[in-house]
Every structure is written in structure tokens, then in C-alpha cells.
């Protein structure tokens, strides 16, 4: 049972990451490969606060990390407002590489490749969070809240603006819309949510290392968005759930010997290719069409 809850907590955390990246990449058309860096920033921030303050309050840690990550996102968003498409992808990958390098080399702060262990369990408004099911409640409630916020954004004038930004930025600017401010704001929002996911992750796993927040994690997050359906709100959540469950399910595939991990990775890759061939608009979009 604990294992099942554990997988659901990870799926909920991935859901938050995928949903925030979908707002950025799917709805605003700003494809970023730097999302894992903000996830890591939140996780390391939470670890440092937790180790500095015994029994930290999760709400305080989350607020501090979300605001800091939103501020950090300005280093990506402001230079990147002039970029789009492939150029934006490369620029964000560059930022991700810098942050991963900092996680690995700022040993006095991050403990380098060894990572940070023994992150204390948090309190939330005075209540101790110690059990996996309690983390599941926190992660599910946060993801549900985020789902409502994203739905709200997309159903208002802001959603119309994001759609226009993705479809034709020059046309949008010609009508007097502030495309620069919109890009900066949406990057900050997505970075803040990624950091929040990092805070929950760090407290839940109690150990973090740079490998969890590398460029390959950013690619996995983008895969969740695209495989689930980048143009919807539910799609990225479906993508996060499926791409969290599949690697776990592959653990039970009976492959003997030292090649097990490599075969699992290949199966995972093949599944992604199959999804894209069979459902180019994402798993969720195909369900919608059938209904």
C-alpha cells in the first residue's frame, strides 16, 4: 500500500510540473528545457531552509522558494523574450546546463554530486507531516488547486492572450498587447510552480542530488506534456500519471541480468514513440475526440 501511495505522490508532483510546463510550452508556445532547474531550485531551497530551521513550516518554505524561483526566472525570461521556437529551446537548455553545473559544483551549498541527505520532515500550519498518505494529501490538494488556477487562467482574457502569443506574436503586439510582460509573467508563474513541486519533493524523499534535476528530467517533463496533450489542461496530468506509472510497471518486467535497466529505458522510449505515432495530439486529446 505504501508503495502505491509513494507512486501516487510522485505522479502528483510530476502532475504539477507537467501542468505548469504545459501552460508555458503548450498554451503560450514557449518551449522550455529549463523546467527541471526550477524544480531543483525549489528542492535545494527547501533542503537548505529545513536544515537551517528545525521543523520548518512547509507554507513558509514554499512561499520563500516560489518567490525566489519566480525572481530567478527573470534571468531566463528577459533574455529569451526575443527568442522563439528552436532558439528558445537551445537558450533554455543552456540555462538548465548552468544550473545543473551549479548544483554539482557549489559543494559548500549543495554538497555537490553527493547531494543533500536527511532533510527533516516538515510541519504544515503546526501539524506534523510524517506519513506518506499525508504527503499524498498535500501533493494532491496542491495539484488540484493548480488545476483550478490554470483552468481559470485559460478561460479568461489571459487565456486568449496566451493563445494569441503562441499563434502569432507580431499580430498580438500590433494590437497593443504586452507580449514582453506576458512572457515574463508566464515564465515566473511556471518557475514558481516548479519550485513548489521541488519543495514537496525534497521534504517527501528527504534526499536530493543534482541528477534528479538535470536536462534529462526537463526532457521527461516535456515528454509528459506532449504525450498527454499539450493543448489541454487535463492532458499534461494524464501524461504525468502515465509516464510516472510506466517506469514503475517496467520494474516488474522479468528481465534477468545487468541489462535490466537499459532494457527498461528502451521500452520506455519505444512507448513514447508509439504514443506519438498513434496519438499525435496526446493521449488525452484522443479520449476527448471519442467522447
Amino acid at each position: 500500500m505504501d508503495y502505491f501511495i509513494h507512486v501516487l505522490v510522485l505522479a502528483a508532483i510530476n502532475g504539477m510540473l507537467a501542468l505548469s510546463l504545459a501552460l508555458l510550452a503548450g498554451h503560450a508556445g514557449l518551449i522550455s528545457l529549463a523546467h527541471a532547474s526550477f524544480f531543483g531550485f525549489g528542492a535545494y531551497g527547501a533542503a537548505l531552509i529545513a536544515l537551517g530551521v528545525r521543523q520548518p513550516d512547509l507554507a513558509f518554505t514554499a512561499l520563500a522558494c516560489v518567490v525566489s524561483a519566480a525572481a530567478l526566472s527573470l534571468f531566463v525570461s528577459i533574455p529569451c523574450t526575443r527568442l522563439s521556437g528552436d532558439y528558445l529551446v537551445i537558450a533554455t537548455l543552456g540555462f538548465q546546463t548552468i544550473i545543473t553545473s551549479l548544483f554539482n559544483n557549489m559543494r559548500s551549498v549543495t554538497n555537490g554530486p553527493q547531494g543533500v541527505a536527511g532533510i527533516p520532515l516538515p510541519r504544515l500550519f503546526g501539524a506534523h507531516i510524517t506519513e506518506p498518505w499525508q504527503f499524498l494529501v498535500v501533493a494532491m490538494m496542491t495539484t488540484s488547486g493548480l488545476y483550478l488556477i490554470v483552468t481559470r487562467i485559460l478561460n479568461t482574457a489571459a487565456g486568449r492572450l496566451l493563445h494569441a502569443l503562441r499563434a502569432d506574436e507580431t499580430f498580438t503586439r500590433s494590437l497593443g498587447r504586452d507580449t514582453f510582460g506576458t512572457k515574463v509573467a508566464i515564465f515566473a508563474f511556471a518557475a514558481g510552480v516548479a519550485a513548489l513541486a521541488g519543495v514537496i519533493y525534497a521534504h517527501y524523499i528527504t534526499f536530493i542530488d543534482p541528477g534528479t534535476f538535470s536536462a534529462s528530467e526537463s526532457i521527461v517533463l516535456l515528454s509528459m506534456v506532449i504525450a498527454g496533450g499539450a493543448g489541454s489542461v487535463t492532458g499534461p496530468l494524464v501524461g504525468a500519471l502515465v509516464l510516472t506509472l510506466v517506469p514503475e510497471a517496467l520494474r516488474f518486467v522479468g528481465v534477468p541480468g545487468p541489462t535490466t535497466a537499459a532494457i527498461r529505458q528502451m521500452l520506455y522510449g519505444l512507448l513514447l514513440v508509439a504514443v506519438m505515432l498513434a496519438r499525435p495530439s496526446g493521449i488525452h486529446s484522443s479520449w476527448q475526440r471519442r467522447q
Binding site: I153, T156, A158, D168, T170
Partner: protein, 248 residues
């Protein structure tokens, strides 16, 4: 009083000198035809005046104040809006959403207010009603909820104009508004441009059909190879310099 002016505007793309020191001044209300052969620099000039392109040299002034990027008024309202030679719309969005995108009261902090729910529903309904009226007046026969990509080319051109008008900008820069339109839509567009002038707007339009320019313009500016060849009343279109520029 001069509403829009530019001084010494120059722009180069690689080896091509698109504009070489353009000085112009425009008063409100007026309809100004911008003509010249292909490659004369007309669209580049419009892009610079609209704040969508930065010149290499020179300055743009609105109401006597130097502006950069998309110029705005003291109240935050848009001063200059433009349409494009090719139809540029959000093709996978509803016609109504395209017009709402330009709607003045949907801009700025109102976008944030709409997310937070601070912006009251009657205001949103008012915007929608305004945009529906605009649509019915400018592109009659098109459903508000139809996809912009599904309507005809002529309707898309008029829809682009409706988006531009929804901004309530004082200056409208129209890039070949008549290109590719049948006689019915041409007539409708010409009437619309005359109406905008009557409402006190400054309308600057690019057009190759000199007959249509004569029908719409108060004054004409002729560009050739990035420089002003002639300007003045539409009669200048009959001058030998202009005919030579067009016919060689």
C-alpha cells in the same frame, strides 16, 4: 497639429538600404496613401511607425514626443495600430476572440483582474457586445463563434481591419487593405476607410491601385528605393517621376 512624425528614418537589411533618411509629418484627421513599386520601403516604414521595427537611424514622434516600441498614450491607450499585407489573425480561434484581443478594455491590468475575478462580468459582457457590434458592422454575415481560419480571404482581411479598429487607436496603418479583394469587399473597405477619416482618425495606407488611392486619399507619399520621390495631393500620382518609378 502634427500627430505623427518621423525624422531621418534609415533602415538597412544586409546590403539593401530599405529606407534612407525619411522625414514625414502627418496631421489628424487624414487619409494618406503610401505608394511605390515593390521594394520601395513602404512596409518597412509602416513597421517602424507602428513600433514593430527599430530603425537604424532616426526618430518617431507621436504628439511631439519621441516614442520607441509600440507607442501608447498618456492613458495607456494604444495610439498606433496596423494591419498586414498577408492576413494575420489567430486562425484557430473564434472570430470574436480575435476582435476581443484588440479590444482596448481587455488590455493591461484588466487581464490580471479577469484571472482574479475582480473584473466584473458586466464589463466583460460589454466588451463582447461591443465586439459583436463591430463584427456585424464590418464583416456582416460572419458568425462570431466561427473559426477565423474557416472564413473567406475577403472576410479575413476585413476581420483584420475590425481587430485594428477595436483597439480604438488614433492612428491606423493599413498595409494593402484592398489586395486580393473582390469588388464588393473593395467597396466596403473603401467606405470603411472614409468612415474612419470622418471619425477623426489618421489613416495611412499602402496601395498599388492608384485609382483606389485617388478615391480614398487626402494626400499621397510616393516612395522609391527607400527615398521619397514625391508627396502632396493625389494629383502627384500623374507626375512623370511617379510614372517612371512605376513603369520604368
Amino acid at each position: 497639429m502634427t500627430l505623427l512624425a518621423c525624422e531621418g528614418i534609415a533602415k538597412r537589411f544586409g546590403d539593401t538600404q530599405a529606407l534612407a533618411g525619411i522625414d514625414l509629418g502627418f496631421e489628424q484627421p487624414a487619409t494618406v496613401g503610401l505608394v511605390g513599386p515593390n521594394g520601395a520601403g513602404k512596409t518597412t516604414l509602416i513597421n517602424i511607425l507602428a513600433g514593430l521595427l527599430e530603425p537604424d537611424k532616426g526618430m518617431v514622434f507621436v504628439d511631439g514626443k519621441r516614442v520607441r516600441r509600440v507607442p501608447r498614450g498618456m492613458d495607456g491607450g494604444l495610439i498606433v495600430a496596423r494591419t498586414f499585407q498577408e492576413t494575420r489573425l489567430i486562425m484557430d480561434a473564434a472570430v470574436l476572440d480575435n476582435i476581443l484581443l484588440g479590444c482596448r478594455s481587455q488590455r493591461g491590468m484588466n487581464t490580471v483582474r479577469s484571472i482574479l475575478g475582480i473584473r466584473t462580468e458586466p464589463r466583460e459582457s460589454k466588451d463582447i457586445a461591443y465586439c459583436r457590434e463591430l463584427l456585424a458592422a464590418i464583416v456582416p454575415g460572419v458568425g462570431a463563434l466561427e473559426y477565423a481560419g474557416n472564413i473567406s480571404y475577403g472576410q479575413q482581411k476585413l476581420l483584420g481591419l475590425a481587430c485594428c479598429i477595436a483597439t480604438e487607436a488614433h492612428i491606423l496603418l493599413l498595409d494593402e487593405p484592398l489586395a486580393g479583394l473582390d469588388p464588393t469587399y473593395r467597396g466596403r473597405t473603401i467606405d470603411l476607410i472614409r468612415t474612419l477619416r470622418a471619425q477623426g482618425k489618421l489613416v495611412i495606407f499602402i496601395e498599388h491601385d492608384l485609382q483606389a488611392v485617388r478615391a480614398m486619399a487626402d494626400s499621397v507619399i510616393v516612395l522609391g528605393e527607400g527615398a521619397i520621390i514625391a508627396q502632396g495631393a493625389p494629383l502627384v500620382l500623374d507626375s512623370s517621376e511617379v510614372l517612371e518609378a512605376y513603369l520604368g
